[in-house]
Amino acid sequence: MTQIIIDQSKIDNIAEAVKLCPFGAIECSNGKLNINSACKMCDLCVKHGPEGAFKLLKTESKKIDKSQWSGIAVYVDHFEGDIHPVTYELIGKARLMAEKINQPVYCLFVGHNINNNAKELLYWGVDSVFVYDYKELKNFRIEPYTAVFEEFINKTKPSIVLVGGTNIGRSLAPRTAARFRTGLTADCTKLDVQLNSDLDQIRPAFGGNIMAHIQTPNHRPQFATVRYKIFTPPDKNSEPSGKVNICTVSIDKLVSKINILDIKEKEKTESLEDAEIIIVAGRAFKRQEDLKLVYELAELLGGLVATTRPLIEAGWADPRRQIGLSGRTVKPKLIITCGVSGAIQFVAGMDGSETIISINIDDKAPIFGVSHYAIVGDVYEILPKLIDNIKKGC
């Protein structure tokens, strides 16, 4: 196994050595240091500890033949044939990467009565659309969809598979990745590809203000999910190109222990993703009733109110109004954050916005680093005055 080994003789200061690990994985018992199971093998102790004190002992695994895997596949997210726009955003990114490594772009389209919708994809610059059209696949059920995904991967052997970070994508992608015993990086915010087809995946990590660069160096295919509004869709072509392949799968693979009793329309709420103006309330608000300031400002500007995670956890707002990695990703024309410190968890969900204005009492708040206009001040003073100014029209 791969492990960290410690040369106790090179440790002078035990207390300092314990502090090297941000995950609390270096323990001291009876004057000796041990590594416990909280270790993330990040090798920070190797890099920053006394020279030679910590060593990462790696066992080499068998190398796979990457040339056997080629193509970038995009899973087509849809509801009864209506294609979710995250699909086009992923196709755009897939095309850029595919060009770099000279591999084709595939789409996997799974459903029922979707042949016409599949032709639409040919206007977006994909090389082949693989369609699995069966009545058993009319609505998403995990077992048949995973079985079809497995068939598709065995047939096409793609090096990379991109899936939209929708509820279906975030259920289907991990299940399929696990079936191939391969890696999946969720909610990537940046993607690029190496010439050997290794996928460079960037995402926030460890729940903190940290970005991680993740690779899947010895497994194929490499799975990544990306949320809606992270990438920009390409322009639609005026002429179709590529082709649609109607694929078959044995019916006995489409069995499921899930029975769909009903599909209900969700009550229509204005979606945060589609709002052009968003006002965000953060932890600076001391009481729930104080949020009326942001609601009033939002109404005056014709925008929607959103919040950060702590306010949702306090039960102050509808979870559908949360921006961030555990909420929604937004790209409005204007976003005004009020008393939001700007944890990466939050910032990853809004830093693509066109104009970012932030109000925070702390002039070192991380949110200012991504803001176009950073206002140092107290939301309890500024918001009432701003509302007043707008009302007076001055």
Binding site: H213, H219, N259, I260, D262
Partner: protein
């Protein structure tokens, strides 16, 4: 009926930063808590127990310190708990974590229903539930927003999609991950704390599992590798406005007018 809830201990705050000069992670204080999403999973299980006389157990993977959250689960109404912990699990990514948990679940016995929180607040990947279900070869439903009915061989529930809600009937055994709006978690009870203080919590290591192959666990069993961690890029040109609240508010009003938002 048996219900198993998978829970995880996570850092209490997200105040983890990278020291830009040294590249060292700074984690202020080491306070930890149960993943907030798991509270909803546990509450869902305890509510089923109260209406259908089920047995609720919890399982966690982590260092010994994570025993705290099993005790917390007892205080919320769980009947038993177990832990998987081994140095050989260190460095596990999602795949290796899910596989380890699935081996732990096989050890304690696959129940009718496994409930997981939607995601954790330290990883935010939402992948572990579906991957456990794959390794156990049972169906899973993610993003469950409502339990409609508990029947003897099936469960009826609602799953939320982008624009619709599916009402589904699923055969046991199955795994579900639950959304936050499914219920309101109760507060821990100190009466239960007294009662559960003497309960034993078995700790399983690799030797207890059916699959002993070390290459399937920890860093070796992890297809994804973290190449580098770094502070987020914060380099956009911005204007910083300092001044009295009157001054900055006037500036802000003017700017919003200039940008034609008012």
């Amino acid at each position: 009926m048996n219900i198993l809830v998978c829970i995880k201990q996570v850092p209490d705050s997200s105040d983890v930063e990278v020291d830009e000069k040294t590249g060292v992670l700074k984690r202020e204080g080491v306070d930890s808590k149960m993943n907030p999403f798991d509270l909803y999973a546990l509450e869902t299980a305890v509510m089923i127990k109260e209406s259908h006389s089920a047995n609720v157990s919890v399982l966690t993977m982590g260092p010994l310190q994570a025993l705290d959250i099993i005790k917390e689960a007892f205080m919320m109404g769980a009947d038993s708990g177990a832990m998987v912990s081994d140095k050989k699990f260190a460095g596990a990514d999602v795949l290796a974590t899910s596989y380890t948990l699935s081996q732990g679940i096989e050890k304690v016995g696959i129940p009718e229903l496994i409930i997981c929180g939607m995601q954790t607040t330290d990883g935010d990947t939402a992948q572990v539930g579906p991957e456990i279900a794959e390794f156990l070869n049972i169906p899973h439903i993610a993003y469950v927003t409502k339990i409609v009915e508990i029947k003897s061989k099936t469960i009826i529930l609602e799953m939320e999609l982008e624009n619709s809600i599916s009402v589904l009937e699923v055969e046991y055994p199955c795994l579900i991950t639950v959304e936050k709006n499914i219920c309101q978690p109760r507060l821990p009870s100190f009466r239960l704390k007294q009662k559960s203080n003497s309960w034993e919590i078995p700790i399983y290591s690799l030797d207890d599992f059916k699959d002993h192959d070390e290459d399937h666990y920890g860093l070796n069993g992890s297809p994804t590798q973290v190449k580098r961690i770094f502070p987020p890029e914060r380099n956009i040109d911005h204007e910083l406005w300092n001044g009295s609240s009157d001054e900055v508010t006037t500036k802000l009003t003017d700017k919003l007018r200039e940008l034609k938002f008012i």
